[in-house]
Every structure is written in C-alpha cells, then in structure tokens.
C-alpha cells in the first residue's frame, strides 16, 4: 500500500536518511523505533510531505507522493500527528476538529451539522467532548495529545502516522491511547507509529522497523528485533 524506496535525505552535510526502503501493507500496524537522531521523525516528515526527499521515491497505492505538498498527501488519506503537539492553540477544540473536517471534500459530502455531530462523536470517543468550547492552549498536555488524535480521525485517513503518541503521558492516559489505537486499527486503518516507549510498541505492533543513523537495521517481529544484536548495539553503543 505504502512503499518507500531508496529514500535519502540530506540536511547540509548531514545524512539524516540513508537509502531507506520498506513497505507497509494495508491494515498493518508498523512500529518504527531507534535511538535518538536515527531519522524516525524525518521519515514521517518525508512521507507526509513536510520535507522533500533528496533522492528516492515514496508511493502510495501505486502513485508517487514524494515531493507533493502535505495538504495533497493528507487529501489522499495519510494523516499524522506531531511529537510536540501542534494543536491550533488559540482556536477552540471544536474549531480544531472542524479544520480537517472542512478542508477536504469528503465523498459523502456532509453539511455543517453532520460534521459537528461527527466531531462530537469523535471527541466522545477520546473523552474530551466536555472541552469542546475550550481554547486548545488551555488543555493539559495529555488532553492535547487526545485532541490531535481526534483531529486526525476527523480527517478520516486510511493511514495514520503517530509520532511518539505515548511521550510525556501518564500511565493511565497511555492505556487509553493504547485502546484507542487498537480500536481504530480494528476499523481497518493502517498505522505507522514511532515510539521510544518500547514496552508499548512491542505490545501493539506485530512488525517493527529499527532505524539507526538513517538506515534500516532490522525489520521484523518484536521477538526478532529484541534478539537482534545490531539493535542492541545501536541502542547501547554509540
């Protein structure tokens, strides 16, 4: 469904991504892990159009998407969250939800009231509906993460890329996010999740890709990854 081929990204003299290739199948839940600076977020930035690759290509459902602006990619059904939450701070929660609702003409059309209803449903799903009129900046960090999750659902993408969804989140909320991801995955969506929280990601995904210094050093099940010496080295040694 989504294929990354020979992707390279240079920042000045630094090679952030070095000849990276992998495939993601429909309805997979892929985890991407690796030590700091290994290029995880850069990969997502490249797929979502925030960055343009130096060389290589990215195809989604057979069509190339590398080089497209991120709104085009969002239109095609790939959504993402950010490591540091990027909610629209001085807009209300409801308005935050309405932006992705209205930005892309959906196949089923939908009037304002339809969108509002759906937004409320999603907010209920992530248990933040009581905050709907609140300014996003007044939300706690955890609530903002939930809002980002809700926002992405409003986009209704087939592929959801989460960048550190568990970072800085207390254990209770972590369990909630866990269950939301599981539920959404069951609905048929494809997930790519970056996380440092190895426990969570081992639990969630059946397949992991390990990055180190911009290169893929392992691609397999959590068991395989856990036992791979290269992975252990990458995390421990430098």
């Amino acid at each position: 469904m989504l294929e990354v081929s020979n992707l390279t990204k240079h920042f000045g003299g630094i090679k952030a991504i070095d000849n990276l290739s992998f495939k993601v199948e429909e309805n997979e839940l892929l985890g991407i892990i690796g030590p700091n600076g290994s290029g995880k977020t850069t990969t997502i930035n490249l797929i979502s159009g925030v960055l343009k690759p130096t060389t290589g290509k990215i195809t989604f459902r057979g069509k190339r998407i590398d080089g497209l602006p991120s709104y085009e990619i969002a239109k095609r059904g790939i959504g993402r969250t950010f490591q540091v939450t990027q909610v629209f701070r001085r807009m209300s929660v409801m308005e935050n939800m309405m932006v992705p609702a209205l930005s892309i003409p959906k196949s089923d059309g939908g009037s304002q009231t339809d969108h509002t209803k759906r937004a409320l449903e999603i907010l209920e799903f992530v248990k933040t509906d009581h905050l709907k009129e609140e300014y996003a900046r007044n939300l706690s960090g955890g609530q903002q993460k939930l809002l980002e999750l809700g926002r992405i659902l409003m986009l209704d993408p087939d592929v959801i890329m989460l960048d550190e969804p568990f970072a800085g989140v207390h254990p209770e909320l972590k369990m909630e996010i866990h269950s939301y991801i599981r539920k959404m995955h069951k609905e048929g969506r494809t997930f790519i999740i970056i996380s440092h929280d190895l426990q969570s990601i081992f639990n969630l995904s059946k397949r992991l890709i390990v990055l180190s210094e911009g290169r893929k050093i392992c691609d397999g099940s959590p068991e395989e990854v856990k036992n791979d010496t290269r992975v252990v080295e990458a995390y421990l040694g430098e």
Partner: protein, 326 residues
C-alpha cells in the same frame, strides 16, 4: 451571537447614513478619510491578523489602484466607474503576484520583501514623472461633479459597508477557519489538509482588491496623487490602527482606524507631537496587550460572562467524572 452582530451592523449603517446631518465641511472630509483608512486597516487585518502574512505593501497596492484608475481616466476613454473597478482588479492581480512570491518566505522576510516592493514602486512612480507627474502630483478627475462632499461620503460609506460585509462573510465561513489555522500553525494546517497555498493567496487577492478599491476612490476624491501616499510611515499608520484596534478582528481594525483618525484630527493643533503620541501609544499597547486595545476590551466586557458560565459547566462535569471513576 450572530443576531447581535447583525443588529450592530445594521445600526452602524443607519448611524453612518445619518452622520451628514450633523457633520459638515471639514469634519465630513475627516470622516470620509476615516472610512478610507477603515477599509485599508480592515483589509490589512484580514491578511495579517488572519493568515499571519505581515505585508507592508498594502498601501502600495492602494496606490496601484489609485494610479491605475487615474491614468486610465486621463489617457483613455474608459468611463470613470469602470476605471475604478479596473484599478481595484489590477491591485488584486499584483497582490496575487506578491502573494505567490512570498509563499515560501517566513515572518520578517515577508515584511522585508513587501517593504522593498513598496519602496521600489514608490521610487519608480516618482522617477517616471513623464507618466505619473511624480512628486509634482497627478491631477485626478473627480468622481462627482460639484463641490458637495455628500456623494463622496455615501460612496465611501457604501464601499466600507460592502467590503466589511464581504470580508465578514468570508471570515465566518470555512475560509476564515482555514485562515486562522494558517496563522496559528501553518505546518499543522497543511497536514490537516488545508491548501495553505491557495488560501494564503486568496487572502492576498481579497485584501489587495479592497485596498485598490479604496485607493482608487481616494484618488478621485482628493483629486491629486503623489507617491507619498505609500510612504512606509503611512503604512505604519495603517498597522497602528489595526494593532491598536485589535489585530484579530475586522471590527477592531475599523474602530482603530476611526479612533486614530479622529483623535489625530482633533489633536491637529499639536502638530508633530500627536504623531509621537500615537507611536508611543502603539508601542505601549503592543508591549502590554499584544491583541490590541479595542477588541480585547470588548471581549473582556462582554464575553467574561460567557467564559464564566463555561468554566462552571466544566468544573461540574469534571466533578461527576472524577467521582464516577474511569
């Protein structure tokens, strides 16, 4: 809330229409100029306050509208009303061009680029005096015959009301939501599917059209055009009006424009001092109230009650939630 706004608008229009009964001569002129500034300030707010593009070329665009219209009337047989429209459209076109050029630029680079553009245009207008009469002044045929200011007043009032209406409708639609999202966080907006390119340029085109329209009117009202109308300090005046009034609302910009203009005239006898005072007010307002004076005041006065009720509601719900456990 929408009902309140309509009421407010309607009453403003009525009051505006009745003003000439009480105001004559020089002060009617001041009112006309105030309306001119109000159109400029509010259209600038749409661009800067809503999409976050701080363009300093706004007055240059007004000047483009003014000079285009004037030169068309003087040199061709195109009727005056059409010239004004063409002037506004030309400004919109150039605004579109500028918008396209600054798309990749951020923050101060947009300001620098547009300052440079504005100055180059002003210098060129002055230098090409064979066409434009440069700093000697271009005489512009008046919009109406006779010496009465009344038709001018109603025209500019009409333009102001219509432009505000159009901008208000746009800003309260999904486009307004997208504009604000772009200003808040352009990257996040894009990732959420907002075509930031299209909407940033849309803002430029709309605001430039109204700037050009106002400029064209100005030329045919005052009867004389020089490149000095687009001096950077003049642009600073527009920005001051918008900021003092409240950079995030059209109403704020309009109020700011009217307030500054009238105060400025009222204090005219103090000469240079009033400009110093306004600049000082601007600095102080910016320093302590980044969102301006007028609109935040309004929010504080009228929306405090609503805020309080929402907070009470939230506390109640949280209480129930916490008591029931997860």
């Amino acid at each position: 809330m929408r009902y309140k706004t309509i009421l407010f608008l309607a009453s403003s229009v009525v009051i505006g229409g009745l003003i000439p009964l009480f105001v004559h001569g020089y002060w009617l002129h001041v009112t006309i100029i105030a309306c001119y500034y109000a159109i400029l300030a509010s259209s600038w707010t749409l661009l800067a306050g809503y999409t976050g593009q701080f363009s300093f070329a706004h007055l240059a665009l007004a000047g483009i509208g003014a000079y285009t219209s004037a030169l068309l009337v003087l040199n061709t047989s195109i009727p005056l009303y059409l010239s004004i429209l063409i002037g506004a459209l030309t400004a919109a076109l150039i605004g579109c061009l500028i918008g396209g050029l600054v798309l990749r630029l951020r923050g101060p680079y947009v300001a620098l680029f547009t300052i440079a553009f504005s100055e180059i245009f002003r210098i060129a207008l002055g230098a090409e005096y064979k066409f434009t009469r440069g700093n000697l002044g271009l005489e512009v045929p008046p919009l109406f015959e006779g010496t009465s200011k009344l038709p001018y007043y109603y025209t500019i009032l009409g333009i102001l009301v219509i432009s505000l209406l159009i901008m208000w409708i746009i800003l309260n639609s999904r486009y307004g939501l997208f504009f604000r999202a772009i200003r808040e966080n352009e990257e996040a907006a894009s990732v959420m599917g907002v075509n930031v390119v299209r909407y940033k340029m849309m803002a430029f085109v709309i605001s430039s059209f109204f700037a050009g329209l106002a400029g064209a009117f100005y030329g045919h009202y005052v009867g004389m055009l020089t490149p000095n109308i687009m001096l950077i300090p003049q642009m600073g005046l527009i920005i001051a009006m918008s900021v003092i009034g409240g950079i995030e609302s059209l109403a704020g910009a309009v109020t700011g424009a009217i307030t500054v203009q009238f105060l400025s005239e009222y204090l005219r006898e103090y000469g240079q001092l009033r400009l110093v005072l306004f600049a000082l007010v601007l600095v102080v307002v910016l320093r302590f109230s980044q969102n301006g004076l007028v609109y935040p005041l309004y929010q504080w006065l009228f929306e405090r009650k609503i805020r309080a009720e929402l907070t009470k509601e939230r506390v109640k719900v949280e209480g129930i939630r916490n008591a029931g456990g997860k």
